[in-house]
């Protein structure tokens, strides 16, 4: 395929052109023997015990943004979703829905970054599908990924596992991805170095699980942000969660942009952060393990699980006041003055 080419409807029609795209573009990048067999599906051995299985679709505008692109997001997102089940992600499937007329260079760039992300996360892309739809039917490209992983014996991680006395750890600064996408999308030129935090978290999770310390809840606060995810956990576990505003890690420029536009960093998306809820006595040790991971250097304990206020997230503010952190309702709209 020529670099200057654009994607045509033929590329998804299943004939010769589709075939060429697969063997010339996709296979060399996602190189592995399971995919190379070109069967209708991937066949592989599974380790004994329980498995985790997750799927997600990615439709981000713009496709390329500071700190990542839709391809990297699609791989990391599913890797992280599987990891948050307390599993070691193994295999990934990729479904591409491409708008007719997309530039081949752009597609290639996305596929390359998917390959790179898979390698970094140590997972293999073993099956997939490509469709091309007429102009205007999708916005350039939509990507679906599904992932499967194995859960080590003895691990029980679930959103309903938080218990009073547990501590809440976040693995690094919040709202980086959300602020990056918003600024790019709205064409806001800020003189700052905000970038997406897209990253695989499975190695971090593996380190925690292998340490033997009990981990009650793992979640990656993506869409809806930390505030929404913690509300879900508080609801599932019927506990209260108390956060301390002065401990929330928000990078300076991100805080600045949020203040300017009236956004609350608690509700902005993260793509490379996790929340771990662990027994209070083990919290410092788990924190150390997280901090040893390349993507966990800024991890901190941001709050605790309480018996009071079941189903609620309460924030202790800078000045010692309290307020409820509600679930995000609808999209945050930039304020008027």
């Amino acid at each position: 395929m020529n670099k200057k080419d654009t994607i045509l409807l033929d590329h998804g029609a299943g004939g010769k052109v589709s075939h060429a795209m697969f063997s010339e573009l996709i296979l060399p990048l996602f190189d592995n023997e399971l995919l190379a067999k070109q069967n209708d599906g991937a066949v592989f051995e599974v380790p004994p015990g329980r498995m985790a299985f997750s799927t997600d679709s990615y439709t981000v505008d713009p496709l390329f943004f500071p700190g990542g692109d839709i391809g990297e997001l699609a791989v990391n997102g599913t890797v992280n979703d599987v990891a948050m089940c307390g599993a070691i992600p193994l295999y990934i499937s990729v479904g591409l829905i491409i708008e007719e007329g997309m530039q081949v260079v752009d597609l290639k760039r996305i596929l390359q970054s998917m390959a790179r992300a898979a390698q970094k996360a140590d997972v293999r892309i073993v099956t997939g599908d490509t469709k091309v739809v007429p102009r205007g039917k999708v916005d350039k490209i939509f990507i679906n990924t599904s992932g499967i992983g194995s859960i080590p014996t003895g691990v029980h991680v679930s959103g309903d596992g938080a218990q009073p006395g547990d501590k809440v750890i976040v693995s690094g600064t919040i709202a980086d991805h959300g602020v990056t996408i918003l600024s790019e999308r709205e064409g806001l030129k800020f003189d700052s170095d905000v970038k997406s935090d897209s990253a695989p978290l499975n190695h971090m999770v593996k380190g925690m699980l292998e340490s033997g310390y009990p981990v009650h809840v793992l979640r990656d606060p993506t869409r809806g942000g930390l505030g929404t995810t913690l509300n879900e956990i508080a609801g599932q576990s019927t506990v209260g969660i108390r956060l301390f505003e002065d401990r929330l890690p928000v990078r300076g420029p991100v805080r600045g942009i949020c203040e300017l536009l009236g956004f609350d960093p608690l509700y902005l998306a993260n793509e490379g952060k996790l929340i771990a809820i662990v027994p209070g006595a083990d919290a410092d040790n788990v924190l150390d393990i997280i901090r040893r991971d390349a993507f966990g250097k800024d991890a901190v304990i941001i709050g605790e699980v309480t018996e009071q206020d079941p189903g609620r997230v309460v924030l202790e503010t800078f000045i010692g006041g309290t307020r409820i952190v509600e679930m995000l309702t609808g999209e945050q709209l930039p304020r008027i003055c």
């Binding site: 709205e186 806001l188 700052s192 002065d246 300076g252 420029p253 805080r255 600045g256 203040e259 300017l260 536009l261 009236g262 609350d264 609620r312 924030l315 202790e316 503010t317 800078f318 000045i319 010692g320 006041g321 309290t322 307020r323 409820i324 509600e326 309702t329 609808g330 945050q332 709209l333 930039p334 304020r335 008027i336 003055c337």
Partner: protein, 362 residues
């Protein structure tokens, strides 16, 4: 952006000291009104109510431009959005405010060209890029934003961007306070006045009301310390029974305000009667384009003359904005009216009293 500076005004120790002073001095029940939506937001966001003594009640006033917008103005925007020859540009807050039949978000979903902008100058740029379309900006603001809107209209004039126009629902703060004080049943022991409005108007604009009603008034900023400091000053004035008009935001507000910004505003706009949601008509509280700028007036250009419409049944926005009711005392609150399905504008704007109450009080 200097963040360490901002951080200073969130200092927990200083804030705690202020709270202690407030508790020490305050001996009687007080009803204080924060006039502006940005203050409302900050008060909820930092949990300021939760640190104040129970004797102090903070009321949200009529200073959120989206909350006081009349239904008929929303209807006008919807009519403009429906025109195929129009690109309507607006700040995000306005998108979901329901008019009599529809909202801008609803029209956009149906295919209308409604674009969210962060600055009126973005709207001007869109006008330049689309010479074959009429680009209309929904001008909804107080003294803080009106000078910028005036600046954009002047730019459109000098650059000959004739396909640009605005539909003005701009409003002024002091006349609203005067109207409030005249309303029966309104009981307010002090005003927390908006710092960013005063940056433009100066302290002087608030003197006539202060003189007339002798009500303790403090102009302040938007950091937790600013607000606590204002509350303390209002408590002190109430205790000593010596009302004053105080500038507690001298780092930004000069007594005379910003005469340059006011001059631009006056060059382009003149005052007119305006309809405020739930409050009614207030003379000289609106800002409309002067005759020499009529060609930038969308109301004139598209011959829109909107009749007053009835506000949504059961919505208490007006009474809430006058401090006569709390959001949770509206019978639609949380039942029929939520941020997902707002009935009144106070539930739409992030600075609206009902939305802030919903978001932060659970």
């Amino acid at each position: 952006m200097n963040l360490t500076y901002n951080q200073v005004f969130k200092d927990p120790e200083i804030s705690k000291a202020l709270v202690a002073r407030i508790r020490e001095k305050n001996t009687r029940p007080l009803r204080l009104m924060e006039v502006c939506g940005t203050h409302t937001m900050a008060i909820f966001r930092y949990g300021i109510r939760s640190v104040l003594p129970e004797t102090i009640t903070l009321l949200s006033g009529p200073g959120c431009p989206v909350c006081v917008i009349a239904q008929k103005d929303i209807d006008a925007y919807v009519m403009l959005a429906r025109r195929p020859d129009v690109i309507l540009t607006t700040f995000g807050d306005l998108m979901k405010v329901p008019g009599s039949v529809s909202s801008l978000a609803g029209e956009k979903a149906k295919g209308a060209d409604v674009r969210m902008v962060y600055s009126i100058f973005d709207a001007l740029a869109i006008a330049k890029e689309n010479p074959d379309k009429a680009v209309v900006f929904c001008a909804v603001g107080f003294e803080t934003t009106i000078p910028t809107i005036a600046g954009a209209v002047l730019t459109a004039q000098t650059q000959g961007i004739d396909n640009f126009s605005i539909y003005s629902a701009n409003k002024l703060t002091p006349p609203a306070l005067a109207a409030l004080m005249k309303t029966a049943g309104v009981e307010i022991d002090g005003f927390i006045l908006p710092g960013h409005v005063a940056v433009i108007t100066g302290l002087d604009a608030f003197y006539p009301i202060f003189e007339k009603y002798r009500i303790p008034s403090v102009v302040t900023g938007f950091e937790p310390m600013d607000i606590l400091n204002a509350v303390l000053k209002l408590v002190e004035q109430n205790e000593s029974k010596i009302p004053r008009l105080v500038n507690a935001y001298p780092r930004a507000v000069a007594d005379a305000g910003n005469p340059k910004a006011r001059a631009i505003m006056d060059q382009v706009f003149e005052t007119a009667d305006a309809l405020w949601r739930g409050i009614g008509h207030i003379p000289d509280s609106g800002m409309v384009l002067r005759e020499s700028f009529y060609k930038f007036d969308a109301a004139k250009k598209f011959e829109l003359s909107m009749p007053d419409t009835r506000e949504p049944a059961g919505c208490d926005c007006g009474r809430i904005l006058m401090g006569l009711k709390r959001p949770d005392q509206c019978r639609l609150y949380k039942k029929n009216c939520t941020p997902m399905h707002p009935v009144g504008p106070c539930m739409v704007s992030s600075e609206g009293a009902c939305a802030a109450f919903y978001k932060y009080s659970g």
